[in-house]
Symmetry: none
Subunit: 199 residues, 4 copies
DNA sequence: TCTTAAACGAGACGGTACGTCTAGTCTTCTA
DNA sequence: TAGAAGACTAGACGTACCGTCTCGTTTAAGA
């Protein structure tokens, strides 16, 4: 508990919200290229100084705006069957990528992170790692239950399921199809299953 | 044979080479952020007008510079064993990503392509698709030989092998380790093999 | 007589005419600002090299174009009365300045000459001095006939009659009115007449 | 009294002065051709944006620099004799044109004004018209006193005295000689005097 | 008829300034 | 003390002309 008496004018929550709303709008209209500190401040009706006071870069603003606008879909089913659980979860993510605002937002953020190391680190911490963690837990539970081999490389397994989604979203070489989650999960789990083939 | 008479002063090959060299240098020194049209022209000892005449954006310059500087490693072994061939090829790619200039170059290009659709298309055409094509051919040959299931989804299989490399390179959540190619290829092929488990 | 045999392709009169026509058009459309070597060449359907071969600067092109397009109004009446002759001549010049293309052309040329000494010299030689000469001759004849004082400063007299026309055309502080020639000439001649006042 | 609260950072007077100083220097060194927005900003140690913020064109900068550097010599003597007063004043102007920095400055400005209507208007308002006004007032007072004819066209009279100075400065067909003011004023006033000839 | 030389079109080139935009920082007043 | 307003330095943007330069192509005079 901080009983440090706060002096001076408190931070304006209105300003914060206006900045994040403006960012979402601008990204919708013109992609990440339109999300300039200048434009964000102008659109939000906020001074540039205020934006810089609370966010170091436009990437940071965008990440905050993104995290605020996704209703966190971290809930993971636990039906007792790995494949069912994984497919369900991948389908949720694919829907998010393809059908909601998260798609353009994520591509923009990852693109931006290539020239902004801090943004990359923040993106890992707040978005990617939490999702990898729970997916990994499901696989670890499956290994404990004997559904898949115990010596499996969970990290690589998670990559082989999730990376193709990001890859297609970023490179646009192939569409995100409805059957993709099932195929991705099935092939990989088939490869690490203890007992023979399951069709 | 083009007997189209060439009118006017011919394009300076020296200028073209100077631009691409300068781009490689700048990218090495300061990443894609340092590759500005201004800096490229200055470093190359070429006028800005000339750069803009031949390349629409800095992304286009960078892509050309990249394609010129990779000795095209499209050669694919054909030992008759899918897994060996795929592992070998993925190892080559991983080495390229991790140990050469291609890594920073590619991340920069893909990042840039998120706000430059033309660059994205050119990148697909000149880099990604050719590599996917030959990897896919290897898998299709294996299917024909009966090594893997005939109804396999080749595109997705390729993604599950290659996407993790790009993913780790772009997101930096995990390192590109030496055993990664073997694990990636083995798990996936195991999942689509006709006869049981092969260890 | 130059019996120097001319070898090689002779100068294209068509190109010369096209350049001068284009210059007149461009100046009409956008003032001297529109008369760039680039635009002249393009409009004339002539290569830039050809333009530079025959004219050193755009000012030179413009001066040539101007001199070609004014039907030389050097003819000066000689009625035996200085004032009548001078007024008539100034009226002709004023008409030229105000009602024809010569106005914009001259302001552009004089403006341009402020940063192009060669153009200034050429302008004096080909336009201003010939006109000053014949006006001066009329005044000198009048002095010889005893109409005006013999010790009159002819150059300054000519300036006091003509300079106001150029001044108003260049500075635009006052319009070129119909009665201006009469007033200009009358006042000045009144000041140098031998016998008393003539109304 | 303006009790309008000024918000935001106030304009930097240092920057303004630096710009005008730099402009004077550049014009001295290389004429109006050297006065580019780029060079002005660089010489002044000021960003281009700041220059463009306060002056729309280089002509505008130059006019401001000019108006700041002439100690306004609007003071007009009133000895009671028109001719004496006018000659004195024309001599001052001639000295300014011929012996000081004002000459090159004015020719450059008037030249520039031929392709910049706004500059022309500003030049009239801030330089030419104030000077014409007080010269005209002297002549109007003389008419009221009966020294010259009451129906005189003051504007044209002023032109006949001043225009030759500008004309010789711009066209360089004749030098600005010391006796010019006396001759200019004498001839014209002689032409509009009420009583006969005065030598 | 064939050669030769100048003029021509096309257009690429190194420069340079344009006027605009955004990044960040800084300074002042207001809430 | 936060925030709004906005001026400031810095520097890249993409465009436009500059004047020069190579080309291949004409065009006429001289061999």
């Amino acid at each position: 508990v901080t009983d440090v008496a706060k002096r001076g004018r408190p931070r304006s929550e209105a300003a914060r919200a206006a900045v994040l709303d403006a960012t979402v709008e601008l990204l919708a209209e013109g992609g990440m290229a339109a999300v300039t500190m200048e434009a964000v401040a102008a659109r939000a009706g906020v001074s540039k100084g205020t934006v810089y006071k609370w966010w170091p870069t436009r990437g940071a603003v965008a990440l905050d705006a993104f995290m605020r606008s996704v209703n966190d879909v971290l809930a993971f089913p636990d039906s007792g069957d790995v494949e069912t659980d994984m497919v369900t979860q991948v389908e949720v993510l694919l829907g998010l990528f393809r059908d909601t605002f998260a798609g353009p937002f994520l591509t923009a953020l990852i693109g931006q992170a290539q020239t902004d190391a801090d943004l990359g680190a923040a993106f890992l911490e707040r978005w990617l790692n939490p999702r990898r963690k729970i997916a990994g837990d499901v696989l670890r539970r499956a290994a404990a239950r004997g559904e898949i081999r115990a010596d499996v490389d969970v990290d690589t397994l998670v990559d082989q399921i999730y990376a193709p989604l990001y890859h297609r979203m970023l490179l646009r070489h192939l569409p995100l199809t409805d059957d993709l989650p099932r195929v991705l999960v099935h092939t990989v789990l088939q490869g690490v299953r203890l007992q023979g083939v399951r069709l």
